[in-house]
């Protein structure tokens, strides 16, 4: 879905979100409450500038509007793949965005992530995936890497990967797999405003993804292994 359809779908006329290049920023109203909206469009490649601009929007919200909920809109092809970004330390810029969102959460801002178009790999680790929870539209595309590239890097036959992708949510791209594995909390169908209202009211602030992955069957070991490490009897 394009952002110019998404925002009316969520807020009707009650939004003041605009784009500056690939950055989306602004505010919107739901049930009389104002939210901050931050994100990207056009399958943006997140480079140092775009990570910094999103961080600025989050920091401004924390500084000027304590407690205001934040909606992160995700549409990215992943991190920008340029030597310049690596030279400048893009990992620090992207981590900074993540830390700003974490600060907002620690200070009581509800942060909801929504993949409304694409989310590839590292591009949304410090945006959508660091929210209280990440949601997605049913038509959204989420994956780590395209199968041909995965085949090249892992040196495993593409047809073998594709066959496994049929039955194993771990390899297959697709939002349903991410829901099954707990990475995405739910898909938003139908009345988007109602979905957002529900998310703001009911999204936990603790990380429930491993538990969800176990309950839904897509990731059976993560929760149990983490618990075993956390609760292993201490040595004297």
């Amino acid at each position: 879905m394009i952002w110019t359809d998404l925002l009316p779908g969520l807020f009707g006329e009650h939004h003041q979100v605009s784009r500056e290049g690939e950055l989306l920023r602004g505010t919107a109203q739901l049930d009389g409450q104002t939210l901050a909206v931050v994100g990207t469009t056009d399958h943006a490649a997140i480079g140092v500038e775009l990570a910094l601009a999103q961080a600025r929007a989050v920091l401004d919200t924390v500084r000027d509007h304590p407690g205001r909920p934040i909606l992160l809109l995700v549409d990215t092809q992943g991190q920008r793949l340029r030597r310049r970004d690596e030279l400048l330390g893009i990992n620090r810029y992207m981590a900074h965005l993540g830390l700003c969102i974490e600060l907002a959460r620690q200070r009581g801002h509800r942060v909801i992530g929504l993949v409304y178009d694409q989310a590839l790999s590292g591009g949304f680790i410090t945006s959508g995936l660091i929210a209280d929870a990440c949601y997605a539209l049913p038509e959204a595309e989420i994956r780590v890497m395209r199968l041909p590239a995965m085949a090249r890097v892992t040196k495993i036959d593409e047809s073998r990967l594709a066959a496994l992708a049929e039955s194993n949510p771990v390899f297959a791209p697709g939002v349903e797999n991410y829901v099954a594995m707990g990475g995405v909390r739910a898909l938003w169908r139908g009345d988007l405003a109602a979905q957002l209202r529900d998310a703001l009211a009911h999204t936990p602030t603790t990380d429930e993804r491993a538990r969800d992955g176990a309950e839904r069957g897509g990731r059976r070991l993560a929760a149990e292994v983490a618990q075993r490490v956390a609760e292993h009897p201490a040595q004297a």
Partner: protein
Amino acid sequence: MSLANPLQASFAESTARERVLQLLDAGSFTEILGPSARVMSPHLSQLGVPSSFDDGVIVGEGRLGGQAVLVAAQEGEFMGGGVGEVHGAKLVGLFQRALRQRPAAVLVLAESGGVRLHEANAGLIAVSEVMRALLATRAAGIPTLMLIGGANGCFGGMGLVARCADHVVMSDAARLSMSGPEVIESSHGVEEFDAKDRALVWRTTGGKHRYLMGDCDVLVDDQLGAFREAALQLLGQARPLTLEALEHEHALLAGRLADHGDAADAVDIWRRLGIADAPSVVNLDAAELRLLKHPAQEGAQP
């Protein structure tokens, strides 16, 4: 090769297991979910790839300078240190354990390409869970230290996790970044980034460059003992996340773009940072580089 003092051995050439044993006080390390527990990847065998008994990460508790610490060490030789479902869950559990035990620090000896591609979606979610768990530990005031000294470097999602921690220690044997040079070259060509130009790769993402830029707090020699000393100095030094701290960070990053956004190469950046003979940086050792960065503190610890 046996040395009179094993602490003098190369960190980069040691296995993760050897690194942990030398880093901590002798005999103090107890591994949790070690190899004989056989908590392994449920996904790799389907791809005909062998698993490792500890899924490529060692986690446990021990002492450093007599103080209780929790430790994780990624084995870079197994799947490039990539994070899969179980590997990630062991790290998450360690950070959760920190909330209960309140150690003097959580040390992560990071050597990873990021998400383990063979586990794709599970790996991506796992990396994100590691990040959330580290940040919860940080919010509780427990210092998190990333020790990055492996030849495979710290990339991808782990490169992000590294910059979420309180402190980063590196040697120039290692690199810290997001995307590897091969990925960039295959995306935009060899003119963009020649992955075979080792000197270029290290100038761009290696420990010395990161140290001069301020993206690692401490630069050490490639030696087990040097990492141990650096970690000892950082125990108990938490850096809370505050609005003020993040505004400061934001100004620093914005300033970096303004000052160096048009730099063609790391050497240009070093020159602009005021280093007289910038190209000579590649020949300096960690101590000499520390002096360059802190000329007023000759003899002091960084």
